[in-house]
């Protein structure tokens, strides 16, 4: 089994690329792979607790908590990007990590595959 690192940049909750990234991570973990998931820019919105499910609207929080519980999935938000948007440590959901971009860089170096989803 391998390790996949996914980096998402500037993708707000509700964006198609963020949905894709989480569903891909879920599929990879189900197949026994490890996944590191990095959020930069507006993607750090995913690292804000208290998100609610609405009909026909993207809701990724539950899936992410289930993925974290597997032990094969790490999700990390860019600390500076989050702080710049007013998301502080106490706003972070359980199991989410906040780090500098060095974390993402280190993850890509020992990953078997990297998918970097760029922003605008």
């Amino acid at each position: 089994m391998g390790k996949l690192t996914i980096g998402t940049f500037s993708s707000l909750v509700g964006s198609l690329s963020l949905d894709f990234a989480v569903k891909l991570a879920e599929a990879a973990v189900k197949k026994g792979h490890k996944v590191d998931f990095w959020m930069s820019g507006n993607a750090t919105m995913l690292a804000k607790k208290g998100q609610k499910a609405f009909k026909d609207y993207s809701y990724l929080a539950k899936t992410l908590q289930e993925l974290i519980a597997t032990g094969n999935f790490q999700i990390t938000a860019c600390e500076a990007c989050a702080e710049a948007r007013g998301y502080h440590k106490e706003d972070c959901p359980d199991g989410f990590i906040r780090k500098s971009m060095d974390w993402y860089l280190a993850s890509t170096f020992d990953a078997d595959r990297v998918l970097h989803i760029g922003g605008d």
Partner: protein, 92 residues
């Protein structure tokens, strides 16, 4: 490939021994849309083509509408393609 109107120039510049293109999001229109009766020129590239079933079905496209050069895949298949068939992955 996640877009229909943009990204073609980048694919034109790609050079690989083995190239696979996975259509996701609005990129799935490459797999089924015919403009002026012509399929997407992207499908003329020397590559293996895949389209994410969830994304084309969301847009009202069925597997029967796909160009014969395109294979329908699910998320699990995409994981296998990424790990087993190609060394590098880029998002366009």
């Amino acid at each position: 490939m996640s877009d229909y109107r943009c990204g073609m120039d980048m694919i034109d510049r790609l050079s690989a021994e083995s190239l696979g293109i996975i259509f996701v999001g609005n990129g799935v229109y490459h797999a089924a849309t015919k403009e002026g009766g012509k399929a997407s020129s992207l499908l003329d590239k020397k590559a293996n083509f895949y389209a994410l079933t969830e994304d084309f079905e969301t847009r009202g496209i069925t597997a029967g509408n796909l160009d014969s050069r395109v294979k329908a895949v699910n998320y699990g298949d995409v994981v296998d393609i990424i790990f087993n068939d190609y060394e590098k992955v880029i998002w366009i």
